[in-house]
Symmetry: C2
Subunit: 387 residues, 2 copies
């Protein structure tokens, strides 16, 4: 497969955007990515989205958004892998451009979750769990994660408050990100006193949903050769992998091991020729704080059961050993589910370009993003690198 | 992109399968394709499906079906392009294996439309139309096609009965296809007397929905070199293209021209190095008989407004100039929407292998399939050829 680069990024603010339709938000992100890339057109559009059919009564999103964004007639399709839909769209765009079949593609993630007042978004999100064997028992997504977190606390002897640094870091990093949903710092006391959602998960363990769209434009690296030495850094795609696990959590031998994260991360490291020590930042899928811990462990940044130590010892902040959620993560940037995977990629690009604002990392050259669909069921890892 | 071949196919009968779940039907098709290919595993699964989130309350189908089919841990994703979801999944599988990123993939189409008694399937299907500008006016899919057919009859002066040969041919060809939904020959009189659905479309202009799953396994052609000279013919992928048009029919300047069909077909011909005269069979998207006419014209088999002449003059039957719907088409094999595109491919493979039964074409070497999402909104064309 030929080498690829990300030429443009576009994001809309994650928010409750009752006044802006799905197609409007999606088109805004697409047009921003084109503008950022200095392009007027693109060969294909891959749309990552989970809920439009359920919440907006609209399928055929690929064609709809291509048309609405002024890209009528191009190849376009929608991709769904639950909350991993965004990165899934990127991975398909990568293989499409990488194959030589097309010369450019936009991977868009979009989710419109505040579409109809009174819509049961929790039930809609539960469609990412097993509809025959999990949801009939009343298991929501937060309940599934609560079961996993409870098991983790029991196995490894941590207290709930040991997870506080993950959420505190995410909120601090979102403060100056204009696209973030939440702009408020939190303290350990706030975390301890937060309202319980599904024990042991409280409100400050959980990421907020929202509306949002983010897009990235992919081109062959060789098309950018002439840019060397001028302008902003070229961000290349160094690794792209996907793996799955059982959809139902109860089918796993060990619920505190994200085997699909371990598998996709180790293959991404091999593709990029790097080890976890080489990663300058990691945009992980902190839908719930327990997922932060499990991702860090599965990807080799901590031993099994030891990830909370990274937070407690101050290694996850900008400037730390492995900065995570550098622009807020799912916890504070927000989690418009099918869009999240592309927000993560756009944020890694911002860091590698030196365009990340107050939480800019010094000299970041290699960044990783990992997007998760279901409770660890579909896991997609990308490694980006400055060329 | 490297050259590819279809090594295995699998189909389930299109039917009202109340007793068989979505995952069971999907897995059956996947396992049949693996068995047909003589393989036990595959690198990735691309699932084409439109309605599982709406009718079955189940998303994350890629991961679910990979696990259920015994392929736990492989890369898997769902793809949606309305009724074109099946071919969209195939096209993504082609680019993925073609890129060299993976060495084999299954493209699966699956749809479970008889999931809940009383479910409003017509409303669910209308999600392939524009939810802001078409469906609020009460336009169902059959109504949209009726508007287009009425315009066509007015523009070109045909009578409704001039479309009868399309449906008669489809029903005749399905008689001995064990996977077809309908096994009953129809006459011109049956066609004329059929119950009206949305004038001028009557029941025998319209394809029946149903449950079904079909799968094809893709590998690099070079992996099959050693098979030359023995066993059944190798079926290579000679062309694969996709194009879009406006989602809303009213946004088109000319509603009787399928511009996305013309665009994707002409590029597929160029890829394969053929002309319409070289095509031995054409599995087209006859969801409604008007679509048969428009597809034949857009793809160069008839002049604008002249396609009914092909039927009236006996050119579309097996043995005719351009045989269509050789195993029943959508009209009689049935139209489990997201699965249809893969049924079409499996049928072309059957014809090219000489495994098509009583409607086997003599010496067929090049076959085309075209799958449509929405009312001509997303159109995907594949050309297969015996190597």
């Amino acid at each position: 497969m030929r080498e690829l680069a990300i030429l443009g990024i576009g994001q809309t603010p994650v928010a409750e955007s009752w006044e802006t339709s799905l197609r409007e938000q999606a088109s805004e992100a697409v047009l921003k990515a084109l503008q950022d890339a200095g392009r007027e057109g693109v060969d294909a559009l891959f749309v990552g989205n989970m809920l439009s059919g359920i919440l907006s009564h609209q399928e055929a999103l690929g064609t709809l958004i291509a048309d609405w964004a002024g890209l009528r007639h191009i190849e376009a399709v929608k991709v769904e892998a639950a909350c991993g839909s965004g990165a899934a769209a990127l991975r398909l765009a990568i293989m499409a451009v990488g194959s030589g079949e097309i010369d450019s593609a936009i991977a868009l993630g979009v989710e419109k979750m505040t579409e109809m007042k009174g819509a049961d978004t929790t039930a809609a999100l539960a469609e990412a769990a097993d509809a025959d064997y999990e949801t009939p028992h009343g298991l929501s997504f937060v309940a599934l994660n609560a079961l996993v977190m409870r098991r983790y606390l029991y196995e490894y002897g941590w207290k709930h408050t040991d997870f506080a640094p993950f959420s505190i870091n995410a909120h601090a990093n979102a403060l100056h990100n204009p696209y973030a949903r939440l702009h408020e710092a939190i303290t350990e006391k706030d975390y301890q006193n937060a309202r319980m959602v599904a024990e042991p998960i409280n409100l400050l363990d959980a990421s907020p949903i929202g509306d949002g769209a983010a897009a990235v434009l992919i081109v062959p690296l060789e098309h950018l050769r002439h840019r060397n030495g001028k302008g902003r850094p070229v961000v290349a795609i160094a690794g792209s992998t996907a793996a799955t696990d059982t959809l139902a959590v109860h089918d796993r031998k060990d619920v505190t091991l994200l085997s699909a994260a371990a598998s996709s991360a180790s293959r991404a490291y091999a593709q990029a020729g790097v080890t976890p020590q080489d990663i300058d930042l990691f945009e992980l899928h902190d839908a719930f704080s327990i997922m932060t811990a499990l991702s860090l462990e599965a990807c080799g940044f901590a031993e099994r059961g030891q990830a909370p130590r990274l937070g407690l010892d101050g290694h996850i902040h900008p400037g730390g050993r492995i900065p995570i959620c550098t622009l807020g993560g799912l916890k504070a940037r927000g989690h418009p589910v099918g869009a999240t995977g592309i927000y993560q990629i756009a944020e890694v690009v911002q860091q590698l370009r030196g365009e990340a604002g107050p939480t800019q990392l010094d000299g970041a050259r290699i960044g990783m993003a990992q997007n998760i669909g279901g409770s660890g069921a579909t896991i997609i890892t990308h490694i980006l690198r400055v060329k």
